[in-house]
């Protein structure tokens, strides 16, 4: 999938879509192609009423979205006041937001990953809450500065100390992860069972994690179906919106993927990712006194061999997320005498690298539980918001 990645860039501004497509094209792997939305489709409603009422992919204007492995949407589709567009187009697009288009695309097309550009901020920004997009529909939100960030596209020549938020997905892996989701026959099945997560430590869920699913009791998570996820008001379709079973399964799968990745995983209480597993269990790292040894451990992404704690590795969820995760409930007990040393390297969330503690700044995120305290290197060309969290 990643070798033949097809990226479609959408914006009202013709020269900008060409620019963005060109930039992204430079970082794609061989075989990948980035193309601008065809000129005749710019300024049109991205999804016709017919497509929405039919609720299935078809041979219409929106088929360009169906074929996209990654869809790149500008957040503000309103034409500039001095742009040369006709009145009808201007009326239609004024205040049209990429986020809303992303919702429609997710519900009514077979598009793969969705990237929204320049929403809320047009500067390269790191969210110190780590939860600012927890329930948002797109798979990644970036400023224009990062549309061609090599880390985001899995390009091999990415600089290690460059901006690379730990929450970013790998867009070259995500379309396959989305396709690996459920099919329509599983819509009424409990997702915990389908994902083989019945013996995960759900009792450690924090209240906010549970509430985000709209569940009053932790026991109800075992009976929550994919259809329930697709009907979740924030994660899935809205009231009165309907779509075909095939697309509904896709909506549910994407909703689950985003919930696990953005709400469950950050607390590291039920599933844990590689960097935070290393940080909480440093005795698993060979040569733990050397920060380079920490950064040399590979296996963060789905498809790469999990380098440690095989007994707790969870392949099905890793495949769904596109990143490797482990079950906290399956980790081996701490060996006698093993402990986290105060001077151990810490994982920096803004560059996805380990650094020595004296070279970083700490902050308290909105992540629930003991994993709230995190670290960044505080890059000069990045805005950290809310900035006050780095000053406590």
């Amino acid at each position: 999938m990643s070798a033949d990645l097809r990226v479609v860039v959408c914006d009202d501004d013709g020269s900008r879509v060409e620019d963005w497509a060109d930039e992204i094209g430079h970082v794609l792997k061989p075989g990948g192609v980035a193309e601008a939305l065809p000129a005749q489709l710019r300024g049109q409603s991205p999804l016709s009423k017919e497509r929405r009422s039919a609720g299935r992919a078809g041979d219409d204007a929106a088929s360009v979205f169906d074929a996209a492995d990654v869809l790149v949407l500008d957040s503000d589709l309103t034409p500039d006041h001095d742009a040369h567009v006709d009145d009808e187009v201007r009326t239609h697009l004024t205040s049209e937001m990429g986020g809303e288009v992303a919702h429609l695309v997710r519900g009514y097309t077979t598009a793969g990953a969705i990237m929204v550009v320049n929403e809320r901020t047009q500067q390269r920004t790191f969210d110190l809450t780590l939860m600012g997009r927890a329930m948002a529909v797109a798979d990644v939100y970036v400023s224009e500065d990062d549309i061609a960030n090599a880390h985001l596209w899995g390009a091999g020549d990415a600089a290690e100390d460059a901006f690379h938020p730990s929450g970013w997905p790998r867009l070259d892996l995500l379309p396959a992860a989305i396709s690996s989701g459920v099919d329509k026959s599983q819509l009424d099945a409990p997702w915990v069972a389908v994902l083989d997560l019945e013996d995960a430590d759900w009792t450690s869920l924090h209240s906010g994690q549970l509430e985000s699913l709209g569940l009053p009791e932790v026991g109800e998570i075992y009976s929550m179906t994919f259809r329930d996820l697709a009907a979740h008001p924030a994660l899935g379709l809205r009231r009165k919106e309907t779509t075909s079973p095939e697309l509904l399964a896709r909506v549910a799968s994407c909703a689950l993927r985003r919930w696990i990745d953005r709400v469950l995983l950050p607390s590291q209480n039920v599933v844990v990712d590689l960097p935070h597993l290393m940080q909480s269990h440093p005795w698993l790292v060979d040569g733990r006194d050397d920060v380079d040894a920490w950064n040399a451990v590979r296996g963060r992404w789905w498809g790469e061999d999990p380098p440690l704690a095989q007994e707790a590795f969870h392949g099905r969820v890793s495949e769904l997320l596109g990143r490797n995760v482990w079950l906290t409930s399956h980790r081996e007990p701490r060996p006698p005498g093993a402990r986290v040393q105060p001077g151990a390297p810490v994982f920096c969330e803004d560059i996805s690298q380990f650094r020595q503690l004296q070279n970083v700044r700490d902050f308290v995120s909105d992540v629930e539980g003991p994993s709230a305290r995190r670290f960044v290197v505080d890059l000069e060309d990045v805005e950290y918001m809310p900035r006050n969290r780095l000053a406590v």
Binding site: D19, D76, E144, P386, V392
Partner: protein, 230 residues
């Protein structure tokens, strides 16, 4: 609200400039000779402009977050000052701001981050203005604790302030006349409201602010002092 709209539009214009620079660079790749070099040079100029616009924007960027504007907390003096120093670099004109004598464990009185940014941005702007004729201007911030109080002092090697007359400078529109015209031309303010704002915020959070006798080697010193529990 207005500042958010302003930020949105300015950012949009900045990205347009960036796009033009990219197009010029791409054009330069397709041709050769002096024309290509000229295009690259123009693209570089546009990029430099864009970077400078971004740095100027960083002066008020903290105001864009509601939490930063309103969340009251006990912030670390060294961390806040380090942030202010960084955002003010675009106005520093080569003046060095030495923060080495700010204790890492010194905590500011409870206030919002934006309030402290306003205090220190104004104090540093004054210091930059005072050291315009110095080559290079030197500014240092130090801090510490006394028996029942803590303090921060901003000192510079520029124009001296007459302590007998210093209290007047906290009144609205009062200013040290000699630096005003030039500093205004250089974008370093000089309206006479900076110290008024500093005192207003300082008093609001239980701080006193006043000019004090500078340490040897410095010409002006302004001090913030606040009570601390023993």
């Amino acid at each position: 609200m207005t500042s958010l709209a302003y930020e949105h539009e300015v950012s949009k214009q900045r990205r347009e400039v960036g796009a033009v620079a990219r197009r010029l660079e791409r054009l330069a790749e397709s041709i050769a000779g002096t024309s290509a070099e000229a295009l690259r040079s123009e693209a570089e100029t546009l990029r430099a402009w864009s970077i400078r616009a971004k740095r100027i924007r960083s002066l008020f960027a903290p105001l864009l977050s509601e939490e930063t504007r309103t969340a009251v907390g006990e912030y670390g003096a060294a961390k806040v000052l380090s942030d202010v120093k960084r955002t003010m670099q675009v106005l520093a004109r080569g003046a060095d701001v030495d923060l080495r004598r700010v204790p890492l464990d010194l905590t500011l009185p409870e206030a919002s981050y934006a309030a402290w940014m306003a205090v220190f941005q104004n104090l540093l702007t004054n210091a930059f203005r005072a050291t315009l004729d110095e080559r290079p201007g030197r500014i240092a911030i130090s801090g510490g604790k006394r028996a029942r109080s803590a303090w921060l002092r901003v000192q510079n090697t520029g124009l001296a302030v007459d302590l007998e007359d210093a209290e007047r400078l906290f009144l609205p529109f009062e200013r040290v006349d000699s630096a005003t015209e030039r500093s205004e031309a250089l974008g370093l303010g000089g309206s006479g409201l900076g110290l008024t704002i500093v005192r207003m915020i300082a008093q609001d959070v239980g701080c006193t602010v006043r000019f004090v006798e500078p340490e040897p080697g410095w010409s002006t010193s302004i001090e913030l002092e606040w009570k601390v529990e023993q």
